[in-house]
């Protein structure tokens, strides 16, 4: 293995727009793990909204753009199981009848990873240098869990943080109701699902709810603030990178 792998950070459209601190947390974690990180300008989105709406033509066009932008790196890492899953599991299938692009899609798929599992599985990171005073609970985002097998890795790294107590979330593997366009197409059903999720999270008694996908996190944070719950919501990378000084998702800037 190359001593200093060149990483293309697929920052994801949601992190780029809503929560840049997750991007900086990802960079810090990757650099601490001995990687050189580049953030290509030309990235926008992995194409899931089109792919999940049945728009094959646009899904392919966006996929080609992502492939062309990222194929030069040793590895592509995203702080999201669903975007990494899109590239890893769905891109090759998009080009089932296009041999040339299929080969390029497969090559990219083989070196694309979700952030926390990349650190743990590919860079053998066993612990992180962070402190966190309080208890957290962790929601397994669906695509990360079931498409990429992200389950033990975040728990293991969270365990290495001094002061942090992990309280397991009952039904951690049940969807939070985000589902991309699902949450705006079927808002009533989505609201019901996320209401159950934040109630379960709050019932653990943990002070902070973590997950590895910003879509789910915006959904869960939006519901906790709507209900006036005190549990805070953060991306797991923020905690692992020891970058939890700023406000949690959906919280105002702290008064200075």
């Amino acid at each position: 293995m190359n001593e200093k792998p060149q990483i293309g950070l697929f920052v994801t459209c949601l992190v780029n727009l809503f929560r840049p601190s997750v991007g900086f947390a990802a960079v810090k974690l990757l650099e601490n793990a001995g990687c050189v990180v580049t953030v290509p300008d030309a990235q926008t989105c992995c194409g899931q909204p089109a792919h999940n709406s049945g728009d094959k033509k646009n899904s392919r066009a966006i996929a080609r753009q992502v492939i062309a932008t990222f194929e030069k790196f040793d590895a592509v890492v995203a702080p999201s199981g669903s975007c990494a899953g899109m590239i890893k599991q769905h891109y090759p299938a998009l080009f089932s009848d296009d041999q040339k692009w299929r080969a390029r899609a497969e090559a990219l798929a083989n070196k694309t990873f979700e952030l926390v599992s990349y650190l743990s599985d590919e860079r053998s990171v066993e612990s992180v240098n962070a402190t966190f005073n309080g208890s957290v609970t962790y929601h397994d985002s669906c695509a990360g869990l079931r498409e990429l097998g992200v389950h033990d890795q975040p728990r293991k790294l969270l365990d290495s943080i001094s002061g942090l107590e992990l309280k397991e979330l009952p039904g951690a593997n049940v969807c939070c109701g985000f589902g991309g366009t699902f949450c705006v197409k079927y808002p009533d059903i989505s609201t019901r699902m996320v209401t159950d999720k934040v109630a379960d999270a709050a019932a653990t008694g943990a002070g902070t709810l973590l997950a590895g996908d910003l879509g789910c996190l915006l959904n869960m944070a939006g519901r906790t603030t709507r209900e006036g719950r005190t549990i805070e919501v953060r991306h797991v990378a923020e905690v692992l990178a020891d970058m939890t000084d700023g406000p949690a998702i959906g919280q105002p800037e702290k008064a200075r």
Binding site: V11, C13, V15, N16, L17, F18, P20, S21, V22, G23, F24, V27, V39, D41, T44, G47, A50, N52, S53, G54, D55, K56, N58, A61, Q65, C142, A143, R146, E147, N173, V174, C175, G177, G179, F182, C183, V184, K185, Y186, P187, D188, I189, S190, T191, R192, M193, V194, T195, D196, L218, N219, A221, G222, R223, T225, R226, I249, G250, Q251, P252
Partner: protein, 473 residues
């Protein structure tokens, strides 16, 4: 049965607001999932058995014509009759003919989703033959003048209190004469009510979990024993089954049985597994005098040659709906036709039409839990996605949604414009949030804010900040 799937959104909303339904669903959601996980964990070869089940079903589907033909020949050799029916109407007429030829006034029924698919009960009633549901759940649903909300637990949407009321209303003169509370009392009363009907019935109608080609056998799995009484006591036994139920051998059937009950209810085996191989033979004491198998196509042969073929592997265990958070939120009636949950989301649009059933494959977060537990590994989210592709190509999406999707996709393909537009949006959201960190209402995003706030962007896109810092954290 007439589909109401086009009204999915309204029906889902009704389900979400139904307090009794929500009580029933809360209990249901944990029961089956825990039991399935325990049963699977206890059997070391469980995953291998799933693979074997897939192989058996795929092989059977690949040679469906051969095995169906063999099955029919064997049934006829044993003195039974096979009736090939293309449409629900064909199947209803055939059942009626058989009932009328037997001079039937009543027919007992054990659970059959095909019976629901062809809307047999109202049809028999119109023709002065009383259909009597004998599965406890089906019996409850029949008394309530409803239809099943789950393929293996028809009355899962009802609370015990609702059943108490229902039994009191219908059994008043004949039953205990008072409102019963205990589960056992209720079951005993239903059993008493059904006993004389079992004996009086002229025809017994069952479904089939399997059709076994090698022996011409039909098989059902039940937990109540009502299936046995339905098919043994009356003079005539009618089996309702669709084409894809056939497996080559008894051995194949038992392999699939080993995953079926574990996946469905967490049992190692259902309480009863009942095999029927033709009518009563000379010298036999029990069994019907006539044995009829209605083999219904109703769209299955078309599915066989389509990209949705894998849905025909389905063994109707119900695990996909047991594990589906959408089903668990809205209940089965929201789906508007016979088959709810993920398997229904694939089957319904294929059987009643994509335009009618278009919501069903859309109403999924693609969380993948259904595929993870499906005993025959049907790629349910993948098949739902194919339906969405068909829907997109047929331009069935609401025009506004299609337009915004097209616009967004165009932007996503033009990074500079995309980032420019995203920047505008981000600044607008930031301004509207007034430093509260969140927005309670956002124009054009009512779908989001109806049930949750929108967290405000932190300020400054990651990429812009990254560039400003010269690629440093």
């Amino acid at each position: 049965m007439q589909s109401q799937s086009h009204n999915f959104i309204g029906r889902a909303r009704k389900g979400l607001a139904d307090v009794d339904l929500q009580t029933a669903l809360a209990r249901f959601q944990t029961g089956f999932t825990v039991k399935r996980a325990e049963a699977a964990a206890k059997l070391p070869e469980f995953e291998a058995l799933r693979d074997e089940a897939v192989e058996i079903k795929d092989h059977s589907l690949e040679h469906l014509d051969f095995y169906l033909d063999h099955f029919a020949t064997k049934v006829e050799e044993g003195g039974g009759e096979v009736h090939w029916c293309v449409t629900p109407e064909d199947a209803r007429q055939k059942v009626l003919q058989i009932c009328q030829a037997a001079g039937a006034r009543s027919a007992t029924k054990s659970k059959s989703m095909i019976g629901e698919e062809i809307a047999l009960n109202p049809f028999l009633e119109e023709n002065n033959i009383a259909p009597i549901e004998t599965d406890l759940g089906e019996y409850i649903v029949q008394l309530a003048e409803e239809y099943p909300s789950h393929i293996i637990a028809p009355a899962v949407h009802k609370t015990k209190d609702q059943v108490s009321d229902l039994f009191y209303k219908h059994h008043k003169d004949k039953g205990a004469g008072k409102r019963l509370d205990g589960v056992e009392e209720l079951v005993t009363e239903a059993r008493g009510m059904l006993r004389e009907k079992f004996i009086a019935a002229d025809v017994g109608i069952t479904g089939a979990n399997f059709l076994v080609a090698e022996t011409g056998t039909t098989a059902i799995v039940t937990n109540e024993g009502n299936g046995d009484l339905t098919q043994i006591l009356p003079r005539v036994h009618i089996v309702l089954a669709t084409l894809e139920k056939v497996v080559p051998t008894l051995e194949d059937m038992t392999t699939i049985l080993r995953v079926l009950a574990r996946t469905a209810t967490g049992q190692e085996f259902s309480t009863y597994t009942t095999l029927s191989t033709g009518p009563k033979r000379a010298g036999e004491l029990d069994g019907p005098e006539a044995f009829h198998v209605i083999l219904l196509d109703n769209g299955r042969s078309k599915l066989l040659g389509s990209e949705y073929r894998e849905i025909l592997r389905c063994i109707k265990c119900g695990a996909c709906m047991n594990h589906c958070p959408v089903y668990g939120s809205i209940g089965g009636h929201a789906y508007g036709w016979v088959y709810p949950g993920p398997m229904g989301a694939v089957l319904t649009p294929n059987l009643v039409g994509l335009k009618e059933g278009r919501h069903l494959p859309n109403a999924s977060t693609f969380c993948g839990r259904c595929e993870a537990v499906c005993p025959v590994r049907i790629p349910l989210p993948g098949l739902m996605r194919k339906l969405r592709e068909e829907e997109f190509e047929a331009k069935l999406l609401p025009p506004r949604y299609r337009l915004s999707l097209g616009l967004w996709a165009w932007m996503a393909r033009h990074p500079r414009l995309y980032h420019l537009a995203a920047g505008f949006g981000r600044r607008a959201l930031n301004m509207l949030s007034r430093r509260q960190g969140r927005l309670t209402k956002v124009p054009f995003a009512v779908g989001w804010t109806v049930g949750r706030d929108m967290p405000a962007p932190e300020g400054g896109s990651f990429q812009a900040q990254w560039r400003r810092k010269g690629g440093r954290t």
